[in-house]
């Protein structure tokens, strides 16, 4: 009797395992495309046409930023709700249904992307951000919608579990992992409204030919309405791991349960009304709106800074219980040989660095320096590429035995893998940040120009390229070791000697947390109000300036044959009018 997850929840373990494997498949393909891009961009090895680079880049972005992260997330969140509520999912068929929908969505999205490599008419080399008027095949947008709907249903699944649990435990506090799942899910529901609106109202009808044009600034703004909070959606499972798993692996307890709840509530209310900070350099949005987005973004630093303290304090608690002493000497007492710990700790360290480049990105006028340069790429390879990905890989070494019932293939290889990732990313993202400061743009197949060169104050661009290529090679090697371990573990036979399915206890428990923290309705309402404040005026201004369907709205031919078009425009206008009215009423009430 080992008490692993698969023994307690055999049916759920299968879904979680399937989600993890889907996530790893995306990681494998996305990672392969990563090294292809690294070598192409730096000019070390170019075997394809530069036009195909953008197809590779689209696949890299979508597969890693969306597929890899979110499949892993649904696996972790399903584990978290079932474990912390100590109850199976309400209906396993429903669980498989949303998983299936997510897979279908991914496949439908991938088809037009990969068709970009062939001679067919179909393509969707529009990158992860799919800014109109670049147009992808309708299947691309449709697949994305199905994927997002799949995640919505996954959220319903977790909420069902919680509601059912609440009936049986009316007076208990929401267990911390479930609390994290629920707040993150609520944030996701609000955030995805932006991308759903962008795709369903505008991009999909436009790619199908139902409407003639779109307003590029509007769809772009709606994208970033979703595009910034999505980074917190990737990050929250990593945060959850740092809060509920890392203290335990360190040999200690979570420093403060109430503050962990505060942090997740702050993410729920502050994640969405910040997206405009990706648009600091967009013409058509007034400086005032940009300033508001900046203050919101800056305050969003707070939960991350609080997390830094709580997580490090939890590790310190573990270290001191293991005999650690001194101001810094306790660091030696941490279990560095454990790949799960070492991976998460290194990921956290990288996130501290990422926090700094993120602070620069959050600054309004300093954005002129870094906007759309390689700096930004360096930044998100530290956040999603290390803080999230390395944490996911590290906890995989803990999760795999839990969901397969088999011992990890090799702990030494695992330790080497996480260290290699850290070193590889150090080289790569450091050179990316530095390159960005020289003005080297992101998203380009050949950052080598005819009329001018990038001037480095120290070293040279060639040296930065060498660092990037070296880093990319180390990361690829690290990925190979990771997959060797995953496959090796899957081929292992069942083991009876595995750690139990447990997460960290707390020093300051939920009883210390004010009850109001568990009032999800209140926080959701506040989140929605903040979103309305931050977004209604910019959106109305954009629509007023450029029209719902872009500058050509007045010339839009209403085709009698289709008729659909007219219907569409009418519906959208009505919806918007209703929205405006609602906003006016709210504004009136609040003033």
């Amino acid at each position: 009797m080992t008490n692993t997850y698969i023994e307690s929840f055999p049916a759920e373990a299968k879904v979680v395992r399937a989600a993890f494997y889907s996530s790893f498949l995306a990681l494998a393909i996305g990672g392969l495309f990563g090294i292809i891009q690294t070598l192409h961009r730096t000019g070390y090895y170019r075997f394809m046409d530069s036009a195909d680079y953008y197809t590779v880049l689209t696949a890299h972005g979508v597969l890693l930023a969306i597929t890899f992260t979110i499949f892993f997330l649904v696996g972790v969140f399903t584990w978290a709700t079932t474990t912390s509520l100590d109850r199976p999912v309400e209906d396993i068929r429903f669980t498989w249904a949303w998983y299936g929908l997510m897979v279908l969505g991914t496949v439908l999205t991938a088809i037009p992307i990969f068709a970009g490599f062939t001679d067919s008419e179909m393509s969707a080399s529009v990158l992860f951000t799919f800014y109109a008027p670049l147009q992808g095949h309708p299947l691309f947008y449709f697949g994305l919608v199905l994927f997002v709907v799949g995640t919505w249903l996954a959220g319903v699944d977790w909420f069902r579990s919680w509601w059912a649990w609440k009936q049986e435990h009316p007076d208990e506090r929401i267990p911390l992992p479930t609390f994290m799942v629920l707040t993150t899910t609520l944030m996701w529901y609000i955030a995805t409204l932006g991308v759903a609106a962008a795709i369903l109202l505008f991009l999909l009808p436009w790619s199908l030919g139902l409407v003639e044009s779109v307003n590029p600034l509007l769809t772009r703004t709606l994208f970033w309405f979703f595009g910034h909070p999505v980074v917190y959606f990737w990050l929250m499972p990593a945060y959850m791991m740092w809060y509920v798993l890392l203290p335990k692996i360190s040999g200690g307890k979570l420093f403060s349960d109430p503050l962990a709840r505060v942090v997740f509530v702050l993410f729920l209310i502050l994640s969405v009304p910040t997206g405009i900070h990706h648009q600091y350099l967009d013409p058509g949005i007034a400086e005032g709106f940009k300033f508001i987005a900046m203050t919101n973004t800056m305050f969003l630093l707070l939960p991350s800074l609080l997390t830094a303290f709580t997580v490090v304090a939890s590790m310190e608690h573990g270290a001191r219980q293991r005999g650690g002493t001194g101001y810094l000497g306790w660091l030696k007492a941490l279990p560095w040989r454990d790949p799960v710990f070492a991976g998460m700790a290194l990921a956290g360290l990288m996130f501290a660095a990422a926090g700094f480049s993120g602070m620069i990105n959050a600054g309004m006028n300093i954005n002129y320096l870094v906007h759309n340069t390689f700096w930004v790429v360096g930044h998100f390879h530290l956040t999603v590429g290390t803080a999230v990905a390395l944490t996911f890989m590290a906890v995989t070494y803990w999760f795999l035995p839990q969901v397969t019932g088999k011992a990890l293939w090799s702990r030494s290889v695992a330790l080497g893998q996480v260290v290699l990732w850290f070193v590889g990313m150090t080289f790569m993202s450091n050179a990316m940040h530095r390159g960005g400061l020289l003005g080297i743009p992101r998203r380009t197949a050949e950052p080598q120009y005819e009329g001018f060169e990038f001037e480095a104050a120290v070293g040279s661009v060639g040296e930065l390229d060498a660092q990037i290529a070296l880093g990319g090679a180390l990361l690829t090697l690290s990925l190979v070791l990771f997959f060797a371990n995953v496959v090796g573990t899957a081929l292992n036979s069942r083991s009876d000697d595995l750690p139990a399915n447990e997460y960290a206890d707390t020093l300051s428990g939920p009883s210390d947390a004010p009850l109001v923290l568990d009032n999800l309705k209140l926080w959701t309402a506040i989140a929605i109000v903040l979103v309305i404040f931050a977004y209604s005026f910019p959106l109305l201004s954009i629509i007023e300036r450029g029209g719902l369907f872009g500058p050509e709205l007045t010339e839009l031919p209403v085709s009698i044959g289709l008729g659909l078009e007219y219907l569409w425009v009418t519906t959208v206008s009505t919806v918007t009018a209703a929205g405006e009215t609602a906003i006016t009423i709210i504004a009136g009430v609040s003033s």
Binding site: K253, V312, R322, Y327, L331, F356, P499
Partner: protein, 75 residues
């Protein structure tokens, strides 16, 4: 979750030298580390803003202010 704690204690006694409760724990090491991080952040922020950013001339400025500045320079 108290159940979890018991498991943890029994599982990892070999690694545990002592048990530290809530009131006896002062995360002085965390304060030290995060204090260093704070200083790095402050230094790098000023470096990035005043050296890297403002040293990266020219910068987008509002017309009127520059006009005043130019007027002064010409005078």
């Amino acid at each position: 979750m108290s159940q979890t704690a018991e498991h943890e204690a029994s599982n990892e006694t070999s690694e545990h030298v002592r048990e530290i409760g809530h009131d006896e724990f002062d995360p002085i090491g965390t304060l030290t580390l995060i204090g260093i991080y704070f200083l790095i952040l402050v230094f790098l922020w000023f470096f990035m803003y005043f050296v890297e950013f403002l040293g990266n001339d020219p910068t987008v400025v509002s017309g009127t202010l520059v006009f005043l500045a130019t007027g002064e320079r010409l005078a």
